[in-house]
């Protein structure tokens, strides 16, 4: 691999997540030049990723102005974009679409035409989206269809590209002057500290781009007070250079008697700070991803605005504390307890939360996983997540569905019964479709029946229905054939058989879980019987 192009036209946090992929690509292809195409507003963030050969930025504002104002000839839009691309090589060995938006998908089509390989999604000449593989379907369709995802985005992009995620810390550019200045500040705090053991610095980044994701000031006040009371910990407030965050920091400082240590840092300075703190508490996705790249132990505060199953931290043992909203009660106690748990000051059995639910990033043979630690959780949801994850893995990789350990729980039998009903319905629909297919060309009425049968199949797509996974994979194949169903009838028939096989695989998998549960229950009954004896 000589030249790799990665396209990510999303926001700052998403641009940082590409850092994981860049580290992994560099580990596998050390001599490859990685070119990173982003929008201008993310250029500075992208430039922090040290393994990049060059960042190429599209001036989206300028492109939008040129393209939307009637005074400008379209030639200037073309010339401006081509000028931006002029620094890129003519061809690439691999083009990766890491943002599934329209512009990135069109540009992937543009660049991949002259390149050896591509990954993700792109348009074909019929304006239909093409997928580089089933993992691409999982990334673009499966995870976007539902609120939660079976695999996080970092894992998915690695699976799409077909490389293992590097577990190494990503190389980030930092500023030596910032690092030196910070060293001085932290040493001064250490020297003034009364604690006998080593002082741990807790970075707290409580503000984000949206008020509904911010940690409320009242909660922060309590949290800082709790940390101040702990002689082994020292809190540092990290804010972005914005008027909104500055004002909130001033208010917090006032409430805390003007003793607050606050750092106002851009991304370059934040990188230096992250390297020197021991733990980060944050609700902001950009700083979270930056810390994740640095392998800084962190606690993400999630108020349900974004799904942590999609965009949660990848580093092992990172924590995610979930609340229903940022108005939830007893947040500060839960945050403090989770933090202490991570710093090993509280054993698992002594960790009790009020309103929050705590998850931990772990890893198994399927990839990154978010394991429930403590707090409120719908057990059925967790069971469905485990089963869905295994199914998605098996179907996307075209291998047998691996069997996760599912312990018996209330509601599990009901879940399995619902799935069995879904299977019966889908199987019936598949048979109808196969029966109608040969008649399609000749009879219009048959055509209508066929289409209504087809749409009925997709009406039951939901997170609860595990058969949605093979159906969504099939839907993407269908879209590629749909421009001419009559000519593609053979391929269509083949794809229906593939769907049927995948559904059978899922059904077998669910049956094996049911059998295993029966055995578990029998064993439990046996144990109970013996204990009575």
């Amino acid at each position: 691999m000589k030249n790799i192009l990665i396209i990510n036209l999303r926001k700052l946090g998403d641009v940082f997540t590409t850092g994981h992929l860049i580290t992994s690509l560099k580990a596998k292809y050390p001599s490859a030049k990685i070119h990173f195409l982003v929008y201008k507003e993310s250029e500075n963030a992208a430039a922090l990723l040290a393994d990049i050969f060059q960042v190429v930025a599209i001036d989206r504002k300028k492109m939008a102005t040129l393209g939307s104002k009637k005074i400008f000839n379209k030639a200037f839009s073309i010339e401006t974009l081509l000028d931006t691309f002029s620094v890129l090589p003519e061809t690439f060995d691999l083009v990766i679409n890491h943002s599934n938006d329209l512009v990135a998908t069109l540009l992937t089509a543009y660049f991949s035409e002259n390149s050896t390989d591509w990954a993700g999604i792109r348009f074909n000449s019929k304006d239909i989206v093409e997928y580089s593989g089933n993992w691409s379907v999982a990334y673009n369709d499966l995870s976007s269809e539902f609120a939660n995802s079976y695999f996080n985005y970092v894992d998915l992009i690695h699976k799409i590209v077909g490389i293992p995620p590097s577990r190494q810390r990503s190389r980030l550019k930092d500023s030596q002057s910032h690092t030196k200045a910070w060293d001085g500040v932290l040493n001064k705090i250490r020297s003034e500290n009364l604690s006998t053991s080593e002082l741990k610095f807790i970075g707290i980044s409580p503000f984000s781009s949206s008020d509904s994701k911010d940690i409320p000031l009242g909660c922060l006040e309590e949290l800082f007070s709790q940390i101040y009371d702990d002689l082994n910990l020292f809190p540092i407030l990290i804010i972005a250079p914005s008027a909104k965050e500055r004002m909130a920091a001033e208010e917090l400082n006032k409430r805390l008697g003007n003793g607050l240590v606050t750092v106002e840092a851009d991304f370059l300075a934040t990188t230096s700070i992250l390297q020197q703190i021991n733990f980060l508490v944050t609700c902001d996705s950009s700083i979270k991803h930056l810390a994740d790249l640095n392998k800084v132990p962190l606690l993400e505060i999630n108020y349900g605005v974004t799904s942590f199953s999609k965009q949660g931290p990848s580093s092992k043992n990172s924590l995610i504390l979930c609340f229903n909203s940022n108005q939830a009660l007893s947040q500060s106690q839960d945050i403090y307890a989770s933090m202490k748990f991570s710093l090993d000051a509280i054993p698992h059995e002594h960790l009790h939360l009020g309103n929050g639910a705590l998850f931990r990033t772990t890893c198994d043979s399927l990839g990154t996983k978010y394991e429930h630690v403590t707090g409120l959780l719908k057990i059925e949801q967790q069971v469905r997540y485990e089963m869905g994850r295994a199914i998605a893995f098996g179907l996307c990789n075209n291998v047998d569905i691996p069997r996760p350990h599912i312990a018996f729980c209330t509601g599990l039998e009901e879940i399995l019964r619902t799935q069995a009903n879904s299977f019966q319905f889908i199987l019936k629909s598949i048979l109808h479709l196969l029966r109608e297919l040969p008649e399609l060309e000749t009879k219009n009425k048959r055509c209508e029946t066929f289409i209504s049968e087809l749409s009925a199949l997709f009406t039951n797509l939901s997170e609860d229905n595990l058969f949605s996974i093979p159906l969504i994979i099939w839907r993407t194949q269908l879209s590629l054939l749909s421009d001419n169903l009559f000519d593609n009838r053979k391929l269509f028939e083949k794809s229906i058989f593939e769907l049927k096989n995948n559904c059978l695989k899922v059904d077998n998998f669910l049956r094996s879980i049911a059998n295993n549960l029966d055995q578990q229950q029998e064993a439990d009954l046996g144990r109970k019987y013996l204990s009575v004896l």
Binding site: I58, A64, T65, F72, L82, V103
Partner: protein, 231 residues
């Protein structure tokens, strides 16, 4: 062709001479040069500097928020100097000004009588479309500059500036090609030059397949423009 070109040049020279003979330079009551064109004084014959300051003062609030300024009408530049003085008093030296003036003789006369002004570029063309064909002007306009009109110039060239402000570009393939450098996309567009459609509707063109990968580039450009329209 050479003969035709010479005649065209001769005509232009004669026109310039005719226009320049129409410009008369008067001296204001307080000793400043004021051009008189077609019987119109382009600045106050009493105090052109005070008049220019008053004009700029009306835009004080808007000026604070901008770094790019488009001035319609050159005159003898008193309003431009007033704007620059205002920007300097605001502590701003990182600004850019473009002046649009249709009268070539006035530009020549101005340049003969005054030294060049910092950060100011004058664009002169008889046809409005010639102004919009210049990449530097286009790049500048993308910064959405504050437009300041010089009232006397506006009166004098009413039709010209109205056309300038309501200009609509011809986006036929031929016109797009005439504004482009010869690159891969240029060659692709040449293949469909004779098809009669607007480039903005490229997706519905039956010739789109002939564009090769440039089709995706054009669609990406259109998608970025749509984002702005949606906003």
């Amino acid at each position: 062709m050479e003969g035709a070109f010479s005649i065209l040049r001769m005509r232009q020279m004669l026109e310039t001479k005719r226009q320049s003979s129409q410009i008369e330079i008067k001296i204001s009551k307080n000793g400043h040069k004021v051009p008189l064109l077609k019987g119109i004084h382009l600045h106050s014959i009493y105090d052109p500097i005070k008049e220019a300051e008053a004009l700029i003062h009306r835009f004080d609030e808007s000026i604070k928020e901008k770094k790019y300024f488009l001035i319609l009408g050159l005159g003898f530049g008193y309003h431009i100097k007033a704007l620059i003085n205002k920007l300097h008093t605001m502590g701003d030296s990182d600004f850019k000004i473009i002046v649009i003036e249709p009268n070539k003789s006035l530009v020549d006369c101005f340049q003969d009588n005054f030294p060049a002004i910092e950060n100011v570029t004058i664009f002169q063309a008889e046809q409005v479309s010639e102004i919009y064909a210049q990449r530097k002007v286009v790049d500048f306009l993308c910064h959405l500059p504050l437009v300041l009109a010089h009232p006397a110039s506006l009166n004098l060239h009413d039709h010209y500036f109205k056309s300038f402000l309501s200009f609509s570009s011809d986006n036929s393939v031929g016109s797009v090609l005439s504004h482009m450098s010869k690159n891969e996309t240029y060659q692709a567009l040449q293949r469909i030059e004779n098809s009669d459609f607007d480039i903005a509707n490229i997706a519905s063109s039956p010739s789109k397949l002939e564009l090769g990968r440039s089709y995706f580039l054009l669609k990406a450009i259109d998608a970025m423009a749509s984002m702005c329209r949606e906003v």
